[in-house]
């Protein structure tokens, strides 16, 4: 089935996530969709698979305009999507998952489904036990199940969203073989990725997105240079940096390994000194957040030692990290940081470390008023935090930090902020650094990483690259490392 997208637009509030996107994918081909975080890939694919509705534009299947409001309608039209985090039902069995989404009335024909499943398994050489529970499968096996489920529903166009994240190398080879077979059978494959190598190995054509727009479409053979330039753009001139005298070591990581259910990043070694700024680069979900949380005392590393100011901090409670001058600023401001339903005054009371048992509301309001002014937050002491804008929430979070921080850990410090707020945030952070604070921050914005870091740690595909000196690194180099080249 031939797919055409014409002039797709999608806004989320002030954000123009998809800006006039057009692309054509021929039947029986594997087409790559490349871009960094926030480039608009996911939005576009969600529009295509019926999860969200576009503001403008057309979707044509075999030159016929189609319209769908739900993922189920999209599947009926022939478009199915495999999500990065599989949208299956882990507590159910393989066969039950396979049956889900079928439209065959109230009574299901399990015997027929089992036969279908076995036939498909055989065809692709998958080996799944129909009675196994999905939560006992690996991510790769769950992908296989989802592929077969979508095929059994008659899907002609398959979208794969970052399918090579979290699966083993043999499973990746298997997946690529499967995709090639599917293309040979005439299915249309859209392969969303940020990994240059994967795109080069697999795709016939690649469309690159950046800031919600198509920056280019290239056919095989690709050069990494060209793709990186299209993905990340030209870098700004490096800012002249003030020379900073580094202080004592504040944080030391020795052979640290962090992991969650689908990712394992071993052998992280790093020493951070007072007044140093370390940038954690990489596509989101490559382990930066895991490392930041481990350094903040909010999660335990699987292996290795974390030292803060000369004390080993493994297994220590979060309170002790706070006492030691470690602060963490999470990216999800309203989920982990601010308390929706409470106002600014209440937040400032809670964030002060030692205070009297009885609250003096007048003094607290006056204090809040002062902080609001000091941090130029657009709000009043009685403003509930959820009604603040993103930029003002970030200002409020910064205002909540304890004084005298030795180590400040930040996750996407300027995400979702406008230019002015971003500049303001960094001015604050650099002032903090002047007073002796070491800063470790994760960001998906390469310019931000290069502009503010002294040294850079690149996370990619479950590994951490050698620590880079920011002065001697170009956007090009960084882009290739993030894309998994030269690691």
């Amino acid at each position: 089935m031939r797919l055409e997208l014409k002039g797709i637009h999608k806004h989320f509030g002030p954000v123009h996530a998809n800006n006039d996107i057009s692309m054509t994918v021929e039947a029986g081909t594997i087409h790559g969709l490349l871009g960094e975080n926030g480039a608009g890939k996911s939005t576009l694919m969600k529009v295509l698979s019926g999860f969200i509705h576009r503001d403008a534009g057309e979707i044509l299947l075999d030159s016929r305009a189609v319209e769908f409001k739900t993922p189920a309608e999209a599947i009926r039209a022939g478009i199915g999507m495999l999500h990065q985090d599989p949208l299956d039902f882990p507590p159910l069995r393989v066969l039950d998952n396979f049956l889900l989404g079928r439209e065959e009335g109230f009574l299901q024909n399990r015997a027929q489904a089992l036969a279908d499943l076995q036939k498909l398994s055989q065809q692709f050489g998958f080996d799944l036990d129909p009675d196994a529970f999905v939560n006992s499968l690996t991510v790769g096996e769950r992908q296989q199940l989802e592929i077969m489920r979508l095929l059994s529903l008659g899907v002609q166009i398959l979208i794969f969203d970052e399918p090579t994240t979290g699966i083993s190398l043999p499973q990746k080879i298997k997946l690529f073989d499967t995709l090639r077979v599917l293309a040979q059978q005439g299915k249309t494959i859209i392969f969303v990725t940020h990994k240059l190598q994967d795109a080069e190995d697999l795709c016939e054509r690649v469309t690159v997105l950046r800031h919600g727009k198509v920056t280019g479409e290239v056919a095989r053979p690709f050069t990494a240079d060209e793709l990186v330039r299209l993905m990340f753009g030209q870098s700004l001139q490096a800012r002249a940096r003030a020379t900073v005298v580094l202080g004592e070591p504040v944080l030391e990581l020795r052979d640290v390994c962090v992991a969650d259910y689908r990712l394992r990043v071993p052998d992280i070694n790093l020493q951070v000194r007072a007044r140093e700024v370390i940038g954690l680069a990489g596509i989101e979900g490559s382990g930066q957040r895991l490392l930041l949380r481990a350094c903040a005392g909010l999660a335990q590393p699987v292996k290795g030692e974390i030292w803060v100011g000369g004390t080993k901090m493994n297994q220590q409670p979060y309170e002790l990290f706070l006492d030691r001058g470690v602060s963490y600023l999470p990216a999800e401001r309203l989920e982990e940081g601010l308390v929706p339903g409470l106002n600014l005054t209440e937040h400032f009371i809670l964030a002060r470390r030692v205070t009297k048992f009885f609250i003096d509301w007048n003094a607290a309001t006056a204090n809040a008023q002062m902080r609001i002014k000091e941090y130029s937050i657009r709000g009043t002491p009685s403003t509930k935090v959820e009604s603040l804008s993103g930029g003002n929430q970030q200002r409020a979070l910064l205002a909540l930090l304890y004084p005298n921080i030795d180590l400040l850990l930040l996750e996407h410090p300027t995400r979702g902020l406008d230019f002015e707020s971003s500049m303001w945030v960094w001015r604050q952070l650099l002032e903090q650094r002047e007073s002796g604070t070491a800063i470790v921050f994760a960001s998906a914005d390469l310019d931000e990483i290069l502009e503010y870091s002294d040294r850079i740690l690149v996370f990619s595909g479950g590994r951490v690259a050698q620590v880079l000196s920011a002065k001697e690194t170009s956007v090009q180099q960084l882009g290739e490392l993030i894309g998994g080249k030269g690691l």
Binding site: Y318, L334, E336, L338, G341, E346, L350, T355, F358
Partner: protein, 336 residues
Amino acid sequence: MARNAAWTLMPIVIGLVLTTLALIAVGADPLKAYSVMWNGAFGNPAKFSNVIDAWIPLMLCSVGLLITFTAGLWNIGIEGQIVMGAIFATWAARTLVLPSEILIPLILVAGMIGGALWALLAGALKVYGRVHEIFGGLGLNFVATGATLYLIICPWKRAGIASTSGTDLFRPPAWLPNLPGLTVGLLEIIVAIVSLVIVYLALRGTLWGLQLKAIGKNTRSAFWLGIPTSRHMLGAFALCGMLAGLAGAEQAIGVWARLIPAISGGYGYLSILVVLLSGFQAIGVPFVALFFAAVAKGSIALPLDLQLDSALGGVLQGMIVLLFVLSQGVRARLVR
């Protein structure tokens, strides 16, 4: 303010209308039914003192629940905490031989300890065992009821007979003194009101209260801010259990003068409805509790006077709470 009152009164009015329609449907005279209920609750001082008898445990439990609800916890286990309070109080009343002035405070403290321990168990299951407090509490309620039955039939059985009607009466020094000619005493009324005032002020004006509120609204953020969330949750459970245990002790020595199988009287579950209908605010609790107590006691007269089942009271209570919750939902939709 006026708008708030309207949104609160509307479900009560609709509830009364629907109950009236139900009464008409079964062929009863609604006006007569309501007047029987009214007289059953407020007809004379003795009847009103019965209402206060029910009002006291409702107040104590609701005040406790204000604490756990503030911390975002659904302490369904409050029934079991009442029962445990009564069991501990019964043990004290049966074991200790002391003059009344010392014995009664000791019994009440024993009740509070019993309730607090039982609540801490539900809290520990949640904090350390990842068992949701609704399921933990529900399970512990059954255990507590089972324990009461066992105690009444076996170790604490009445001389000669083992009957589920309860233990022997306590010795008179253990009885809570009543006001002359009434079934209720001054002490428990004062305790109920004082506990409400203290909890109201503590939730409003102390750092502890604000920290509980933060935990209730977003535990992760509260933890991030450095609030010891586990400790505070356990503390909220313990305090609520303490008040529930006090209610249980008061039931044992103030109302029944013995331990009976249904010692909780269902006041725990009912007080969850009281707090819901009060919008989780302390201000409304005494009035809503009084209304519920009056409906509960007033409907007892229905079968005698009108051959209507006293369950009508429960129907009215349940209907109003449902309509109240519904009106909150409708309001949230309309105002948005």
